[in-house]
Symmetry: none
Subunit: 260 residues, 2 copies
């Protein structure tokens, strides 16, 4: 690989640290604000906080791996140490967080018992399969035929999720109380759009973008995508849970006191 | 750069550590005292604590970077190690905390639903833009023309925030209950005045102050400004939330019990 410039190195270094801070802060926010919604919505905020907590852990590991892979000479020149930068932490992270993310989105809708659970499990399983199929393409990153094959395989569960969220969920949305229908619909479009980042960033090395530029695009892309997909969706789930709590509390069913 | 004297090195070292301690202590204070105010003001204390928590994380990183950038010879002489001191952590910090700070100030006012949210989002976006425009000026710190350009660009959203808080918010203040009107007005003047620190400290290297003196002024200036702006404003928000909670509880609406 051509050498990483100090500016590229520093940009990635600072962005990974920024992501650590964002994930940690979001985790504390979701866990503290969990008590602000009705009891029946607290599990969704637990899930939102778990997603960012798992990402916080993995980004700390990524930060340590990035630091270990490079060093500065006494004269201040940037050099590699021989230790590989372990990007597979991202796949370990996604294998846990991506199924949780779709599950949390379905859960906050409170569909009729059986339907919500069955839909949540199907989408979560598809999400896990999607990540597992992407991993070999990442490991054999210099063998383009293998990388394309696993990219293609991984796109199948990806498109199933996109199709389910954008087309098949229209009736689930119409079941929502009118005051949150817009918020819930926005949340699923948010997932559909934000998740396209990942297969596109994955493609860059296959489209002739090489060396340190490809590495920089990939790292910046994944950091930004993870903040948007995890913190962003979590905040939307929080807004839905808070709005639904306010509606149900106004209903005078005494649930406000129960939530205290 | 001319060499940092041991006294300058130690002053900065101790002040960074002092800031770590201040931010950590403030975080614990805001999170513990969150239960002392009514439920509807707890999110503001969550935000105040998140701001100091994020700063705590970044000041720990700044501390580690400062330690790694210098060393002492066996004879006790201060030398640089070749590892750069990474001051960009400050920009990563501000990109998260400055929008949260303005948002928390607007949130505690409890303006009528739509207005508060729209004003909060506009000011937070302006704050993020202001930081993002300052960053290139920091990275290319030896190129004075670039540094002036980005300082000037960054001043535009800065002046928009200052103008909005000091002039356009008069009616929002008059909406506040009489007993907290003074506190709320003070809090916005506090932001307007305290934030002037930053563009002024940024100017020093451009006004012919050079080398180790400029570095010392910059580090001391930013540490002091961060403590004032983050811990100081958080305490004012806490005072407003506590006063408003007391007023609403006296209103006899039974909200005290619900908040207990």
């Amino acid at each position: 690989m051509d050498a990483l410039s100090p500016a590229q190195y520093t940009l990635i270094y600072n962005l990974i640290s920024f992501t650590v801070a964002s994930m940690g802060a979001a985790t504390v926010f979701f866990f503290l604000e969990r008590g602000q919604v009705l009891r029946s919505y607290r599990t969704e905020l637990t899930l939102a906080g778990l997603v960012t907590l798992i990402a916080f852990y993995h980004y700390l590991r990524i930060f340590m791996s990035w630091e270990a892979a490079f060093d500065f000479t006494d004269a201040g020149a940037l050099v590699t140490t021989g230790k590989p930068f372990n990007d597979a932490y991202r796949y370990a992270d996604w294998l846990l967080t991506v199924p949780l993310l779709v599950f949390e989105l379905i859960a906050v809708m409170k569909l009729s018992q059986g339907r919500g659970r069955s839909l949540g499990i199907k989408l979560a399983a598809a999400a896990a399969l999607m990540i597992a199929l992407g991993y070999p393409g990442e490991i054999y990153r210099d063998e383009m035929a293998l990388r394309w094959t696993f990219w293609g395989l991984s796109m199948l569960p990806f498109l199933y999720i996109v199709f389910t969220l954008s087309v098949r969920m229209a009736d689930a949305i119409s079941e929502q109380p009118e005051a949150v229908r817009g918020l819930v619909s926005n949340a699923r479009w948010f997932v559909v759009v934000a998740w396209w980042f990942y297969p596109i960033v994955f493609l860059f090395p296959m489209l002739g973008v090489e060396g340190s530029v490809a590495l920089t695009i990939e790292q910046v892309g994944y950091c930004v995508a993870d903040i948007v997909a995890k913190v962003g969706l979590g905040l939307m789930i929080y807004a839905i849970a808070a709005r639904k709590s306010a509606i149900e509390a106004e209903g005078g069913s005494g649930q406000v006191r129960a939530a205290a």
